[in-house]
Symmetry: D2
């Protein structure tokens, strides 16, 4: 018997020419649903994780970064968010972070794949921590694009927490100018939208850049930001788009003040310094974004390479 | 003939349970020297790269991030750096960035492995860009620890650009308290040291954290910072330690001012905003660093896992 | 949702420079026992399989080849085998094949690792098919080397169905001249021994060759043979050593006759033609074996590379 | 510096769920021609090898098995082969083996891809050993299907040494009943054809089985056989189809006699015993082949999975 080593590996295909491999401890759940391949694995380095169509969605070791960074910059930038709409977010952790804001009165969550949500409810209790049972929550299993086309509801914050746009995948019509126009109409006069926007690695910046430029075609204020989420294998980007409030106008002390006043419990990965570090993109990224001009449209969608 | 795909792969072992795989276009150079395995590869996604003992050192697509971020925060924090000492830095790109500062009059570079430097001179011209021929440069092939023990020279900035400390590797005695004390003595009264300090991923933060704490045992001011260097597969950390100047006391405008006044040519990846983004570590990292207290000593060295 | 592909892989290390990778469907069982790492996996291509210390032991799709080829040449070469001793064989499939011979009155099986046998009983029912419950069987969990040193029993056929000799592994003392001398003494006057003897690939023939030569130092008749067991990734060798009977003296018709007369049920992978095909090693293997002379001894053991 | 290990790997995709990985020492040649991806690599375990579209074609360590086994059973089964036609065989090693028969007066070799042949001439001298310069050889760079449709020449032996039939690949129309009928017409009254016929692993036997059945629809005598070629990762099949001679009617002594009388130099991997071992397929393969009835036709071609 030799020293501990792994014989079983999860291979996350970051591009046709780049893989991230993780030693597997245990396969907790594995199913091909009507929409996607779903896997819940225990990895030796990153703990439990959710994988959709072979791509890491979140892992026990760093989901706190992803979900805190997804939710709090938007909610804290708004003075008093009451109605929140989450598109996707099957793990329930985006929901969990939203519910930490006592100002929030109603959260609507729409995910297309009930089987994913059911698996997360069962196997990812550290993610949702009971959030699905909160009386403020309404959960629907629907196509979010269709829902938003038909609803008349208005929200203070809309959070798009979905997988990347792949050809024939369920998500690509949730990344277009037409979709963001629908979102704009469903936001209150001072509302905000936030979304994960793909990797910020220079080699594959097109998606991040195009998402930001598409948002800029619809919203007056667009604030791209980034975070290191090690389980993703590449640096990751987010975008916050807003009708009125600019997240960079809050200084470090003001963010820390709002956190202590408006969020229940202790955050692990986000505070005022983190906020400013994340919104200060490196010169290389800002330069490259300024050189690209692609807008994503329903008739001219963008797919990520793998 | 099917769509382009890769049959040849470079496997970068990040930990016993985590690999980063890159499609290979071409093997440019491959040799086992007296000190280490050296590979220069052309990767499909990241272009040309230098690999020592199977670990990515720098790649064409993002070496500008690594080397600008390694060099300029330290040199710009000092008002007038004249004498610089580079330990390692075989690619010549750290040297290249140092030489962009006209204030610099002498640069001493000490690398243990002449075969690495010779291969970089030949195969990485975009890295060094002729820097080795600059008359301000003195290049020696020596054990840097031994050199610094014996020299009486004094430097304004010392840059430690070496690979990670692995068991039986050439580098582990360049990460200890005793070594930093030697460095301290060889710095001028207002001198600084900067070094790459390993990954900042939470799961393997021990090395980064211990390097910073060890520096804190020697220097009054220690400023850890981080950058996304996609080819490394994990978020990466640096540490700047200083006798007098604090890099965070320069605001964004002042850094941009010093860049325009004191650096020749255009930087690609570093400016005032980048500087502040990089020194603002996330809450999760700061919390974890505060919980760890390991000091690295000659008799109690630290090795990274793989 | 794209076409079916695998994100989870089992990596079988055939040598430091050769791996065989298999898409995983399901992890059925995974444990580190007192003796070894045990995995039972469902592979996409090969079905269920048993893996010890990261090495494929047998798979649903071709275990019939391995076990029929291990057992029947030896038992059919003997005119009337009554007492059989199986060393190892945790899956129970070697036992299953032995029990198909009505002449067999007693089978002793000694495996060092009860946890492996218990897992096989539970998760590999197609392998053992209830064999462990046959009243002719005695099952002991012991060190087989020690057992054979102390017992006075005599057997007609001894089958060594164990994993390869790796350093610090449980098996290496079951491959030495001293062990085969003990086996010789515990065989009846016309007894035979058969064992799996490692790959017959030319590059790694040393183990196969040395096992055969070591047997030749003890037994008058040694018959190496080989089979293609695709899940092993490399061609595989066996050796039959005998005091009196030569398996190649039976012609195709005689073997088919003995099969029909002496084996219950239908064989899948073995008959007279198969027998002769397997004992006719290629010229390249025979030539290389003739050039090697290594004998394995307790004080001079042989370990396979990985 | 740790023990020797490989950071660079060639990944041979045997099926969507099975890969064979080889440590790379050196990339000797790599090009995308008009027809295929061509690689010549030095592998740590198997030495130099030729790879087309990511699939191992032959390796230094075992090309003697492949090429001797491809050529000599057919040529020795014929009493006096004078005219030989090789389809494919870019390495020149099939040609080398054919030319060892002094009875052969003319060899026509037709390969579609001159760039492959040129690379083999330059980088695989151990394969061709100067065979291309033999005055008996005519080499043409053409589509072999088209050539055979138009020629009126007649041959004693036709050898089809091409890669596997993949969709859109150059080879699939060289595996159909219509093609074999053309071949039949171009063979002398007692002529033979031999070809590599894909893996004989049970899980992917369809191609081997269908090739044999398709040959049976055209030729009176079809003799499938197999060999272990370790670099292929899976056991491999060949098929010899004949108008008059049956390769199994020659006993071991007669084959050894013909070898010594009719072949120049010493063979490494083939003799009478090898011949009989290879034509004696295992019961499992014979049973499965008897259950399948697929015939390959121009309008109903067969592609291998990867």
């Amino acid at each position: 018997m030799t020293q501990e080593k792994s014989y079983k590996w999860f291979v996350d295909t970051l591009s046709p020419f780049e893989n991230h491999m993780h030693g597997i401890d245990r396969i907790v759940f594995s199913k091909r649903t009507a929409f996607q391949d779903v896997e819940i694995l225990d990895l030796k380095d990153y703990g439990r994780c959710l994988i959709l169509d072979g791509k890491m969605q979140s892992s026990q070791s760093d989901e706190c970064i992803y979900h805190e960074v997804m939710v709090h910059p938007a909610l804290l930038s708004h003075p008093n968010p009451k109605k929140v709409f989450i598109v996707g977010g099957g793990e329930g952790a985006t929901l969990r972070e939203v519910l930490r804001h006592p100002s929030v009165e109603d959260v609507l969550m729409v995910d297309i794949d009930q089987e994913v949500v059911d698996a997360c409810k069962r196997y990812l209790p550290e993610w949702h921590q009971g959030a699905f049972d909160d009386p403020r929550v309404t959960l629907k299993y629907l196509d979010a694009r269709k829902y938003i086309e038909e609803t008349q509801e208005v929200f203070d914050v809309i959070i798009i927490d979905i997988s990347e746009p792949v050809e024939e995948g369920p998500a690509y019509l949730l990344y277009t100018k037409e979709f963001y126009e629908l979102v704009y109409d469903r936001l209150s006069h001072d509302g905000l939208i936030v979304l994960q926007a793909g990797t910020t690695t220079i080699r594959y910046l097109l998606n991040f850049s195009a998402v930001c430029h598409t948002l800029e075609a619809v919203f007056p204020i667009v604030s791209p930001y980034h975070a290191s989420i090690p389980s993703f294998g590449l640096p990751w980007g987010f975008a916050l788009a807003s009708k009125k409030y600019n997240p960079m106008e809050l200084d470090i002390a003001e963010i820390d003040h709002r956190i202590s006043k408006r969020i229940r419990g202790e955050l692990q990965a986000y505070d005022g310094k983190t906020h400013h570090g994340q919104f200060l993109l490196s010169k290389q990224i800002r330069t490259k974004m300024a050189q690209e001009h692609r807008i994503i449209e329903d008739n001219h969608p963008l797919y990520v390479a793998v």
